[in-house]
Symmetry: C2
Subunit: 222 residues, 2 copies
DNA sequence: GTCTATATTTTGATAGAC
DNA sequence: GTCTATCAAAATATAGAC
């Protein structure tokens, strides 16, 4: 089940990269069961046997990609927290970071949605660990805020849902939104991610904030 | 591609119901590609040939289930809106209704997440139509609120993400949350749906509201 | 309406030459 | 490291008897 990366570095070793890129696209677009090894190989312009040279199975390949994606998210939010600042600022940066990762790694949101739907059947301990790191980063921010009197008590899981879910959903739902929006009155002009980020920030901070909201200061959308 | 329901009503006609129940479970748990017709038949305690007697293909069966689920959501929110009341009340009821449907039909959230991830590949016009009805119901509530000066302008799509996404995500993520939470400090006691509903209501209303928030009146979680 | 085969294709995975 | 050829096991779908 492990990725058994060959240690020799002859040639550019570009094949493995192409394989990973192709697999990421295929898994994101079709899911684990919908993805076909043949198709991955074709996309990567390599032979199917090469897939099994680099990874012991389709499942191992999938897991490697999943792990890399979650690790990237965990590192990103951890780095963001490392920049310090007031709790409100940190939370805002946390949200920006999630949104940024979702944009920079467009395969992450669909894969994450699928894993949720799947009940996490493909998640092993290492991936769960990365997930925990993300949640712990958020929890630390909330704790700081509470101790400094800026935030009221709140459940990290709940806050995480309020942040992560709309962002993942929004990015992943682009194709569906296009199709639904096409037959809707023009007042429904499709929003952009920035609008969603602004909404998530405003709504999350409003719930957490202990300070009376300055009425009229926050935009709800673009 | 259509469900070609036989018109004869001899016997209790229970087979078809069992088939639908089994298929719903299988599709929700495994997705379209992961679901196997053999397994659906076994679960329904019928023969595989019976599946094809009732539905022309696996895809047609899947679509029938998807359509029924989305129609139920559309009807539920439409009914909820029909009960009238002030915009704030209506929006609150809209959120309750979505949460209630997600609980009453536990297969809906995972199927919805998967369809999003899939880019809506299996959604046909009839399903998209139901989806539009849901969005239009929300848009009508927001419009009322805006006209009555209770809500500030907001993008229906964005508001929909802020409501739908956390609820779907939360319900569907129960298994993953269990596994992640198991190794987290006890302060992370798992939240319940009510906590999420309260958060979604509070945060959405806070963003939309034109009235200064009464500081300290809203709980963020349970 | 229901079942027992069975046809046909696809798919994950491997053997073995180069 | 890379390819060709191929196996063995699923999986969708159908024929046809009862």
């Amino acid at each position: 089940m492990v990725s058994q990366r060959p240690r020799s570095r002859s040639g550019v070793g570009q094949t493995r990269e192409r394989l990973l890129v192709a697999a990421r696209e295929e898994f994101a677009a079709r899911g684990f069961d919908g993805a076909k090894v043949d198709r991955i190989a074709r996309r990567a312009r390599i032979n199917k046997a090469m897939v099994y040279y680099h990874f012991s199975s389709k499942a191992a390949l999938y897991l490697a990609i999943l792990r890399e994606q979650f690790a990237a998210v965990a590192v990103a939010v951890s780095d963001a927290r490392g920049k310090g600042g007031a709790p409100v600022e940190q939370l805002s940066r946390y949200i920006d970071t999630i949104a940024h990762v979702a944009l920079a790694r467009p395969h992450f949101p669909p894969m994450w949605l699928r894993e949720i739907a799947e009940g996490g059947r493909h998640l092993d301990e290492s991936v769960l660990g990365e997930l925990r790191r993300v949640l712990e980063t958020l929890a630390a921010i909330l704790k700081d805020g509470r101790e400094q009197g800026a935030f009221r008590p709140a459940h990290p899981f709940v806050i995480q849902m309020g942040i992560m879910a709309p962002l993942m959903f929004f990015v992943a739902s682009a194709p569906v939104r296009l199709r639904v929006g096409r037959k809707l009155p023009p007042a429904f002009a499709l929003p952009d991610l920035e609008g969603v980020v602004a909404h998530v920030k405003a709504s999350t901070l409003a719930v957490l904030s202990t300070a009376p909201a300055a009425s009229g200061s926050r935009r709800a959308s673009s």
